[in-house]
């Protein structure tokens, strides 16, 4: 039941009942018995006097800005061009609003429970880090969605000028929402680390603002140039190219790879990571805080490896450079993970061992459990395999393509890749060594 909604929880349907009935009861219970933290945060937010004011001010400013840009532009240019300019201006600004306010809103949530001394009472209710994380996530996402919804009327303005279709505007809003999801997840993961909300907000903004600018410039402006080569219908240098691409690119394998799979991976993989980090940070020192991140690594390393190497097939002219970029990206990924794993405990705690024993946990699950040697050995094995795969792809592509420099380029790939593998193994070993020697114990 939920005392907050005042509705009883329906009992689970017997396993013999139809699947549709069981699903219906589950959906019904989502409504009757929603995440308690989400409910409470919504109640509190609704009573915060400044929320509507901030919303109104941001919407008003945005409307003014768009009208001004539209007014100035329409003096000279034709309406369709004005529409496109407004579209890019609006969504660039909206991107900034979502990626700056989203993390800031989320950053205060978990940290404020700690600084407000309500965290202990909350954790003793037995809700568990996952439920707490979900509640906080939903609350922050609802809040940031409010911003997006408030911006919808302003965002529809460019559509009136022409030059952009309604589908593009809708797709842009959907993407904005996805960025909202990522921003909130990012803010939460930082929030879970700190016990003062002010510090959490400052740190989050210090990271989020440069990161969002980088995503905007690299993923927006720079990538649009490459995309223009592939699909000329997409204007060169336009930052908000993805919604346009969804409408204008020709359907095909590339559409599926670059416009469906790649964005899914680009949003899903970091979101999953941020979620695992948040949950791990909320657990106690003796809890198993490693398996989640390790499972993520087990899946995302191969995914990242493949995603980085796929573009080499699409660049016939400069294969060696594309392979080097793929190898470098993989290396950056592995180096980051070496730092993440450096915080591992030396081994599983007594609690974790007893729980493994009781549940008869198998070898693989134990291997993914806490322990610096487990973490580092996984990093070494998986890292070598991924870099090796990329090297193999690079060499094969060079050799099958032929040409005067084929052998030389293949040698370069092997030399560069080999160097990266060696360096990666060294880093992993170093992080294990320093961890094993340090007195430092991660605190809850």
């Amino acid at each position: 039941m939920s005392a907050q909604t005042g509705r009883p929880t329906l009992a689970d349907a017997p396993p013999s009942s139809r699947r549709i009935d069981r699903a219906r009861i589950r959906v019904e219970n989502l409504k009757n018995d929603p995440n308690p933290i989400w409910m409470r945060e919504m109640r509190q937010a609704a009573r915060l006097g400044r929320t509507p004011i901030i919303l109104a001010v941001i919407t008003g400013l945005m409307a003014l800005l768009i009208c001004a840009v539209g007014g100035v532009a329409s003096v000279k240019a034709e309406p369709a061009k004005v529409g496109v300019a407004l579209f890019h201006t609006f969504f660039s600004l909206a991107f900034a609003v979502v990626t700056w306010i989203g993390p800031a809103v989320a950053a205060s949530t978990i940290a404020s429970e700690r600084s407000g001394r309500t965290w202990e009472a909350l954790s003793l209710t037995g809700l568990g880090p996952t439920t707490i994380a979900q509640g906080k996530f939903l609350a922050s996402l609802t809040y940031i969605s409010l911003y997006i919804v408030m911006l919808v009327p302003v965002g529809a303005l460019p559509f009136l000028f022409g030059g952009v279709s309604a589908t593009e505007v809708l797709a842009a809003f959907a993407l904005l929402f996805c960025f909202g999801v990522l921003s909130v997840a990012f803010g939460l993961s930082i929030s879970s680390q700190f016990s003062s909300s002010a510090v959490a907000i400052v740190v989050t903004l210090l990271v989020a603002i440069p990161l969002s600018l980088m995503v905007y410039l690299l993923g927006g402006v720079a990538l649009s140039v490459a995309v223009h080569d592939l699909w000329p219908a997409i204007p060169k240098g336009a930052p908000v190219w993805l919604p346009t691409a969804y409408v204008r690119a020709e359907l095909g394998l590339e559409y599926l790879a670059f416009l469906v799979l790649a964005p899914l991976v680009v949003i899903g993989v970091p979101a999953w990571f941020l979620y695992e980090v948040t949950v791990a940070n909320m657990g106690g020192v003796s809890d198993d805080r490693s398996s989640g991140i390790r499972r993520w690594f087990l899946v995302s390393a191969p995914a990242f490896c493949v995603a980085a190497v796929v573009p080499t097939f699409a660049v016939p002219s400069d294969r060696w450079a594309a392979t080097a970029i793929a190898l470098s990206l993989m290396f950056i990924f592995l180096t980051t993970m070496a730092f993440v794993f450096a915080g591992e405990p030396l081994g599983p705690s007594r609690r974790v061992l007893i729980h493994w024993e009781r549940r008869g946990v198998g070898r693989l699950r134990r291997y993914l459990g806490p322990g610096i040697t487990r973490a580092v050995s996984l990093l070494m094995i998986l890292g070598t395999l991924c870099l090796g795969l990329q090297m193999a792809v690079g060499v094969i592509l060079e050799l099958t393509a032929g040409g005067p420099l084929a052998h030389q380029n293949a040698t370069r790939v092997v030399a560069f890749g080999g160097y990266l593998v060696g360096y990666c193994l060294f880093l992993a070993g170093l992080s294990a060594w320093t961890r094993a020697r340090s007195w430092w114990q991660p605190c809850s």
């Binding site: 907050q4 409470r40 509190q44 001394r117 202990e120 003793l124 007594r350 007893i354």
Partner: protein
């Protein structure tokens, strides 16, 4: 970890485990040992007072019991469940009230409790109402939580930890910062909760607030448990020890009484009769007192009553001196009279009635204060460690 240890950890308790069992608990912050080999047991249905000066390590012990801190060495079991192995199970059966908890902004008392009822996954919609009634928060239920006074917040905190009907309540300084009225209300509430079958573990550095609700106490000093047990029993053993020292036996010599040490029987002791607070510390009474008839009465059963009468106390003395149960009468200034006696509250009432019937104007009656304060001062002086 060996298989047998694992098995022991997983095995169900065959005999009923004590509500709280702490074994050889150590904890360290940085280079400072905050807890040093603390061992104690609290039986079901007891109210255990955990007393110690500031910084003794009470909160640290309590946070370990409440699964919020992992012990560095030693074992803590709540109702037979190891807190460092199954914190989730322990959380279901304990209610922990921290000393300085925060509350959420912009929600009312009722919403606050509803939120926690949901968080505890309580299945009964009537629980919030029941708890509001028990803790007497009815007329505050629509007030904003953040606007409550400290005493009200304390009561709200207590209401919160009752929502999931835990067997064991762990309260860190429940009566600190409370005015006398609020303190008495909390005290009554604790007694009521004990009637409901709860075991209560509470910490305090204010001795008088505890003396009349606790069935047992433990005194912690600089991370070491100096003494633990039912108050009467500790007092008795202190007397024995002092008597032994008086005849030249060092603690530990053959024939000397067992030294005061951590020891709490699991059996439930009846709550001592309520007594009022505020009287000054009594001088240590002699180990054994002798009645007028020559019978020896152990000091632990001897009680003291302070009376204030109209007029000269000396005139009143003969009216009660030598009566059954009266061990001695001492006059004091300003009509004060100290009566040493053996007996219960009824006896006190009889004495008062007898005096009134004899035409004595009684201005005040102060029954014996608890011996807790005296015990505390004595055992934390360091001479018994």
């Amino acid at each position: 970890m060996s298989q047998s240890e694992l098995w022991v950890a997983a095995a169900p308790a065959l005999v009923q485990a004590p509500a709280i069992r702490v074994r050889h608990l150590w904890h360290r912050y940085g280079a400072m040992d905050v807890l040093r080999d603390v061992s104690l047991e609290v039986g079901h249905g007891e109210i255990f007072g955990f007393i110690g000066p500031n910084g003794a390590g009470k909160t640290t012990t309590i946070r370990i019991m409440a699964t919020l801190l992992d012990p560095m060495a030693g074992r803590v079991e709540i109702d037979g469940i190891d807190v460092s192995v199954d914190p989730d199970q322990v959380r279901k059966i304990i209610g922990y009230m921290p000393d300085h908890a925060g509350v959420y902004d912009r929600i009312t008392v009722r919403e606050y409790l509803e939120f926690f009822a949901d968080s505890y996954r309580v299945t009964n919609l009537g629980v919030v109402d029941a708890v509001i009634e028990l803790t007497d928060l009815g007329n505050l239920q629509d007030r904003l939580v953040a606007a409550l006074s400290k005493g009200m917040k304390q009561r709200l905190g207590l209401a919160r930890i009752l929502l999931h009907d835990p067997k064991i309540l762990i309260l860190d300084e429940p009566a600190s910062d409370l005015d006398p009225r609020a303190r008495i209300e909390i005290r009554d509430l604790l007694l009521e909760l004990r009637e409901l079958g709860k075991t209560i573990f509470l910490s305090s550095h204010i001795l008088t607030e505890l003396s009349d609700v606790c069935t047992s106490v433990g005194i912690l000093e600089r991370g070491k448990l100096v003494v633990a047990g039912p108050i009467g029993e500790i007092a008795e053993r202190l007397e024995e020890q002092r008597a032994a020292q008086a005849v030249g036996l060092a603690p530990g010599d053959p024939g000397a009484p067992r030294p005061i040490q951590a020891f709490v029987p699991a059996a439930v002791e009846p709550a001592p009769a309520p007594a009022a607070d505020g009287a000054p510390v009594a001088p240590p009474p002699p180990a054994v007192v002798t009645t007028a008839g020559g019978a020896e009465i152990p000091a632990a059963t001897r009680k003291r009553l302070r009376l204030r009468v109209l007029g000269d106390a000396r005139v009143v003395m003969p009216l009660i001196a030598g009566g059954t149960g009266i061990l001695g009468v001492e006059p004091g200034p300003g009509g004060q009279l100290t009566v040493y006696y053996v007996g219960n509250d009824r006896f006190v009432a009889d004495v008062v009635r007898h005096l009134v019937a004899s035409g004595v104007g009684i201005v005040g009656v102060e029954p014996e204060r608890n011996e807790l304060e005296r015990i505390f001062l004595e055992v934390t002086r360091g001479d018994l460690q």
